[in-house]
């Protein structure tokens, strides 16, 4: 809307002259002119908060904000019943809404949130979905066993589970030497950080997918878990057949305890959403979905952090260390995650939750 005359009168740069309240012919305009000063002050504070310039706010401004917000809100309520000035009503609507977002806005920035998240929020969210983790774990184990048994019965299944580009030299009938070669220690660290970055971005994508698919009542998440675990079971059988079980376990466990755990959690978080939408209990489906979705999102941030760790472990210690080193690191990581998730950050008894 263009109002050239009015713009110069109420331009931002100039100090607004005290409004000539008596001059207004209408009662509703007098009402407005009497309160206009407070509205403008509120708008100024809100505009600065929206730009994130909190340091520029004086103490008086911060103290005045709630009071100004309430004044504006009550002005809006009165104006709706007494004024027909559409421009003023529109302005007040938008001002009260903007102020509301700031007054009730996030009280903590990203850093403060991250600190609270790592210092207990993540652990609590993971403990809250324990049932889904148990289900996902059962599915994982079942998937691995299925993969193993099927391949043990009929080798053709191996090609159904393991895609060709992944299988490479690891195919049924390969000699022990060839298989051992695939578990070998690399000579130097060249190229490994690029490998780590690739692994991370690939695995994080898969984990996010497992989570997002949980929205469809959790079924696709479970299918994704079963498929991946059947592949693992098939490869496990291959190495066990060649008598390399321990070597393969060590090779896998360096990063696998972290990575498989993370994917397990992602599937569990997805299933948590699906399960709470299928069985919302006394809540509405929307409320149940929102509650579990936020909890699942916290778990997912944890999953992404775990995958960063997994990728680093996969690229460096796995390729550079021998069998014992790999096993030790794998076990330590598993213990670390278990302790962090299930023992850390519990509320003491008597604390209000």
């Amino acid at each position: 809307m263009k109002a050239p005359i009015l713009k110069t009168l109420f331009g931002k740069a100039e100090v607004a002259p005290p409004p000539d309240i008596e001059a207004a012919a209408l009662r509703s305009d007098r009402f407005r002119l009497e309160r206009e000063h407070d509205w403008r002050r509120l708008e100024d504070i809100v505009a600065r908060m929206e730009k994130g310039r909190l340091r520029g706010l004086s103490d008086e401004d911060v103290l005045a904000l709630p009071a100004l917000y309430r004044t504006a809100a009550s002005s809006l309520a009165v104006a709706r019943e007494t004024s027909l000035d559409a421009a003023t009503l529109e302005y007040l609507d938008s001002l009260v809404q903007r102020a509301w977002f700031q007054v009730y806005g996030p009280r903590q920035g990203f850093v403060a949130w991250l600190r609270g998240f790592l210092g207990g929020g993540l652990s609590r969210a993971i403990r809250a979905i324990w049932l889904d983790i148990c289900i996902a774990l059962a599915v994982t184990v079942a998937g691995t066993i299925t993969g193993w048994l099927l391949v043990a019965q009929d080798r053709e299944w191996y090609y159904a589970f393991v895609p060709a580009q992944l299988a490479d030299t690891r195919v049924p009938g390969a000699s022990r030497e060839v298989l051992l070669e695939s578990l070998q220690v690399e000579k130097d660290a060249q190229g490994l950080s690029a490998f780590a970055a690739f692994l991370f971005s690939n695995n994080a994508g898969v984990a996010i997918l497992a989570f997002a698919l949980g929205f469809a009542f959790g079924i696709p998440s479970l299918m994704l878990l079963i498929h991946n675990m059947a592949m693992l079971g098939a490869i496990l059988w291959l190495y066990a057949d060649a008598g390399l079980t321990l070597e393969f376990a060590a090779w896998l466990s360096v990063h696998g305890t972290t990575e498989l755990f993370a994917i397990l959690l992602a599937g569990a978080a997805g299933m948590h959403i699906g399960r709470s939408m299928a069985f919302p209990g006394n809540r509405s489906i929307l409320a149940a979905a929102a509650e579990s979705g936020r909890r699942g999102a916290q778990v997912m941030v944890g999953v992404v952090l775990m995958l960063v760790a997994a990728a680093l472990l996969e690229a460096f210690p796995r390729q550079l260390l021998g069998m014992e080193g790999r096993l030790i690191i794998g076990c330590v990581m598993l213990l670390f995650w278990l302790a962090y998730f299930f023992a850390f950050g519990r509320e003491r008894k008597g604390d209000p939750a």
Binding site: P19, M49, A73, A204, L286, E291
Partner: protein
């Protein structure tokens, strides 16, 4: 606030929801239109695309420079590797972090949403928490990319009936906002958020402090405009607010035609040259009348009521 009969506002009234704030004020929100959201998404995707192309080109240029200057391959491979790592992580962060970090900020909106005048808000009137922002953005992949991937691959017939079924299945997520009243997408559903309009109106001047509205007489001709009860009774709030817009816009041709229409309606002889003063006086007196009726609980939505 039942008086929203104005036809040009009817489509907005359908999208209006009152959220009761913790202190008991009913705050009106307007659910953002699907087209505004699609537009915002397009702007954001364009920004992401342009940024990643620029960064990729810059990295290629740097890598090219390394090849030219570094003679031995072994010297530069570390730097090349660093560039590869940087690019992979950059892409992941840009794709997943852009929406999240922008929406966690005090304005709750990405650049695209800001341009479209919309923002993310919590559905039940509480705070917009970081978890909610994370949750709503994690679902973007199945809402946007998988549908497109499957839609591209399904018609080719390579994936067979399963591909078509998958495409239909993911299409449900893509079209989710069209199946509910609040235009929630799947991510909004699980995060407990919605996208609302975030108007940023500036305070316009008070119309009754100036000109003929105040004096009742034209500064130009000195003519005094007084309207009787019957003349003011023909219009309602909708016409008043239309007249307000015309006065605030101040386009001469609009002033002229409105002036003629009102004169015709109330049976005056339309002169010319003093339209603004006439309209200002008419506006002030009509509004005074409607507002005083309003204080007694009588409201007149438009000329038909």
């Amino acid at each position: 606030m039942s008086v929203q009969a104005a036809p040009h506002l009817a489509h907005r009234a359908r999208r209006r929801r009152d959220v009761v704030t913790p202190e008991g004020i009913a705050l009106p929100f307007t659910v953002a239109s699907r087209s505004a959201r699609a537009g915002a998404l397009l702007i954001d995707l364009t920004l992401i695309f342009v940024t990643s192309v620029v960064v990729t080109l810059a990295l290629i240029w740097i890598a090219g420079g390394l090849f030219r200057t570094g003679g031995v391959a072994g010297d530069t491979s570390g730097a090349i590797e660093f560039i590869a790592v940087f690019w992979t992580l950059f892409w992941f962060l840009l794709w997943n972090g852009y929406f999240m970090i922008m929406e966690m900020g005090p304005r709750g909106a990405t650049f695209g949403k800001r341009a479209a005048g919309i923002r993310v808000a919590s559905r039940e009137g509480g705070r917009l928490t970081p978890e909610a922002v994370v949750a709503r953005n994690l679902l973007r992949d199945i809402e946007l990319f998988l549908p497109f991937v499957f839609l591209m691959s399904a018609p080719s017939g390579e994936t067979g009936a399963a591909g078509i079924a998958a495409a239909a299945w993911f299409l449900v997520f893509l079209l989710f906002p069209f199946f509910n009243r609040d235009a929630l997408r799947a991510g909004d559903l699980i995060a407990g958020t919605w996208v609302v309009e975030a108007p940023r109106a500036a305070l316009a001047g008070a119309l009754s402090t100036e000109g003929a509205a105040r004096e009742g007489a034209s500064a130009l001709t000195g003519a005094e405009y007084r309207f009787g009860e019957a003349e003011l009774a023909i219009y309602g709030e909708y016409e008043l607010q239309t007249l307000e817009r015309v006065l605030r816009d101040g386009r001469p041709e609009a002033l002229e035609s409105v002036h003629q229409a009102i004169c015709r309606k109330i049976g005056w002889n339309p002169g010319s040259g003093d339209e603004r003063a006439f309209l200002e006086a008419f506006y002030a007196q009509l509004r005074a009348r409607l507002e005083s009726d309003m204080r007694f609980g009588k409201r007149k939505a438009d000329k038909f009521s």
